[in-house]
């Protein structure tokens, strides 16, 4: 009898911990949704801010976040994928490989503000790319690299060794075997990791703060060497830096809702890709 009670209490504690997590997520989403949905309109999504950001929409911030994400993907995906291919298919186990893996794991623990400062030094100053879409995108790219590499490696590991051996036994070179008989089956899995990395990057403020994001711009970025507005930074400004915080509060909530939806969309598509991929591997 006593044992049963202990079991019940244990079960209750464990399940309430799980429910509590869901509860907090629910509150956050509910809070943002209920306070933000009122300002969402076609105009809000397609117009620029007006009257000192107290009127108008957030289109420049949406576009900015989109452009920066594009640079991030273009930079981090090939680099991350190639690094993963090297590590998983070519690198001999040894001290160097271990060191590289350790470095990658540590990179994912580096605070994002440090990435931001690093981006300023490397991209903005040393490479003279200025505070721009490009610098910010590259900085965010660095931030997502650990995700991209790790996910890509995991995806490569799920492709059976027999696919590689089968291709080699038919007279394929190693690279041909990887290209035609490993990568096609790993790419959906890689994509999942990339999207999740991107979902994190798109919501980051610190790395773009010094590398290209602007407080306010009267025009859209004309090229990737221009400064830009971004959703997370815009939200930060509206929430804490604006001279009339009370007045712009609904816009801030609307911005938060758009950002949240964007990230949920990314995550959902990642889950969908993974699902489709697993279905295909099973059949």
């Amino acid at each position: 009898m006593k044992k049963k009670w202990a079991e019940r209490i244990g079960f209750f504690l464990l399940s309430s911990a799980a429910v509590l997590v869901l509860f907090f997520l629910g509150i956050i989403i509910w809070d943002i949704f209920s306070k933000g949905v009122g300002v969402i309109s076609w105009q809000f999504l397609t117009q620029a801010p007006r009257e000192g950001m107290t009127e108008g929409g957030i289109f420049p911030a949406i576009l900015g976040t989109f452009l920066v994400s594009l640079i991030t993907v273009l930079f981090a995906v090939p680099l991350g994928m190639f690094a993963a291919i090297y590590l998983n298919e070519y690198a001999l186990p040894g001290r160097t490989t271990r060191l590289i893996r350790l470095a990658i794991r540590n990179l994912s623990g580096v605070p994002s503000i440090v990435y931001g400062l690093f981006g300023v030094v490397l991209f903005v100053q040393m490479m003279k790319l200025g505070t721009s879409v490009l610098s910010a995108g590259l900085t965010l790219g660095l931030l997502t690299l650990p995700w991209t590499i790790t996910a890509s490696e995991e995806a490569l590991k799920t492709v059976p060794k027999s696919y590689r051996e089968g291709a080699l036994a038919l007279g394929a070179t190693k690279w041909y075997a990887i290209r035609t008989n490993v990568l096609p089956y790993a790419i959906p899995g890689m994509l999942t990791g990339v999207i999740l990395g991107l979902a994190r990057a798109a919501g980051e403020t610190a790395p773009i703060l010094f590398t290209g994001a602007a407080f306010f711009l009267p025009h859209l970025p004309k090229s990737i060497f221009d400064q830009f507005m971004a959703l997370p930074y815009h939200l930060y400004i509206l929430a804490t830096q604006h001279h009339d915080i009370a007045k712009v509060r609904p816009i801030a909530y609307g911005t938060a809702l758009v950002l949240l939806c964007l990230i949920l969309l990314l995550s959902t598509s990642a889950i969908y890709f993974r699902y489709r991929y697993r279905q295909r591997m099973r059949s």
Binding site: A169, G171, T173
Partner: protein, 259 residues
């Protein structure tokens, strides 16, 4: 093996004092063996005796494993395939391989067979179609799949998958086909089909088959080599190995006294 055993048959492959190491552990010791052309040579022996390692030396598949070392020579038509200037990729085009566990690629049946042809390229579409058909016929699979070449190879039964892997190997027109326990995961009927197929294939190909199943070795092979603890104990005509082996240890093994 002395040439009297071979009855004057042409030797397709031979190894000379082959030693093989995983790191520092020797896996093959001083193996000298001749493989006659267009015959079936079976390699038998208890688990871990080195027969699979030996087989994978013959098309340099072991090259993909780290920390291995090979000493001695393996001749394919009098050319040492371990010569530093020989490209293992070219060796594997001439010496095909069928694995223990059938490993169709998750592509269509057609693309599985065409895979090897696409590697070297230079074939027209008609040539590829033609070769795929011939290879599937050669592997006795054509009648079962001719109407569904565009379906996934993963939907085939185990036995069909293994014959597909044989067809895939045939498509690149190898001279030698290595088979690593090709029927060990199959049911008796599928096994019988593979064995019948081997009898047909040996008219055109040199076949070397590793098997755990001694009845299978007795049924399908012309010559049998017995491996034990990394050594080639004996190799001779199959009927002789199974009825009147020259070494006591071979006799113990084939009569089931150990193994």
């Amino acid at each position: 093996m002395n040439s009297s055993v071979m009855n004057g048959k042409k030797i397709k492959m031979s190894t000379r004092e082959l030693n093989f190491f995983y790191g520092k552990t020797p896996a093959l010791k001083n193996i000298s063996m001749e493989i006659p052309e267009k015959c079936v040579t079976a390699l038998i022996g208890p688990s871990g005796c080195g027969k699979t390692t030996f087989l994978r030396c013959l098309n340099r598949m072991n090259d993909t494993i780290e920390g291995i070392r090979v000493q001695g020579e393996i001749l394919l038509d009098d050319e040492n395939i371990y010569h530093p200037e020989v490209d293992p990729v070219q060796v594997r085009k001439r010496v095909g391989m069928v694995f223990q566990k059938s490993n169709p690629f998750p592509k269509t049946i057609f693309e599985n067979v065409a895979y090897g042809l696409r590697i070297s390229g230079g074939y027209t579409k008609a040539q590829i179609t033609d070769r795929v058909e011939k290879s599937l016929m050669g592997a006795a699979l054509w009648d079962e799949v001719s109407d569904r070449l565009q379906e996934s190879a993963m939907a085939l039964s185990g036995g069909q998958q293994q014959r597909l892997c044989i067809a895939r190997a045939l498509a690149v027109e190898p001279e030698v086909i290595l088979m690593d326990e090709p029927a060990s995961a199959l049911d008796p009927i599928a096994t019988q089909k593979i064995e019948e197929l081997i009898q047909i294939l040996k008219k055109n190909y040199t076949i070397i088959i590793v098997t755990h199943n001694m009845q299978q070795a007795a049924r399908v092979s012309d010559y049998t080599g017995f491996f034990y603890l990394g050594e080639l104990i004996e190799v001779d005509r199959t009927d002789k190995i199974f009825t009147n082996p020259g070494k006591k240890r071979t006799e113990d093994y084939v009569t089931g006294r150990f193994g």
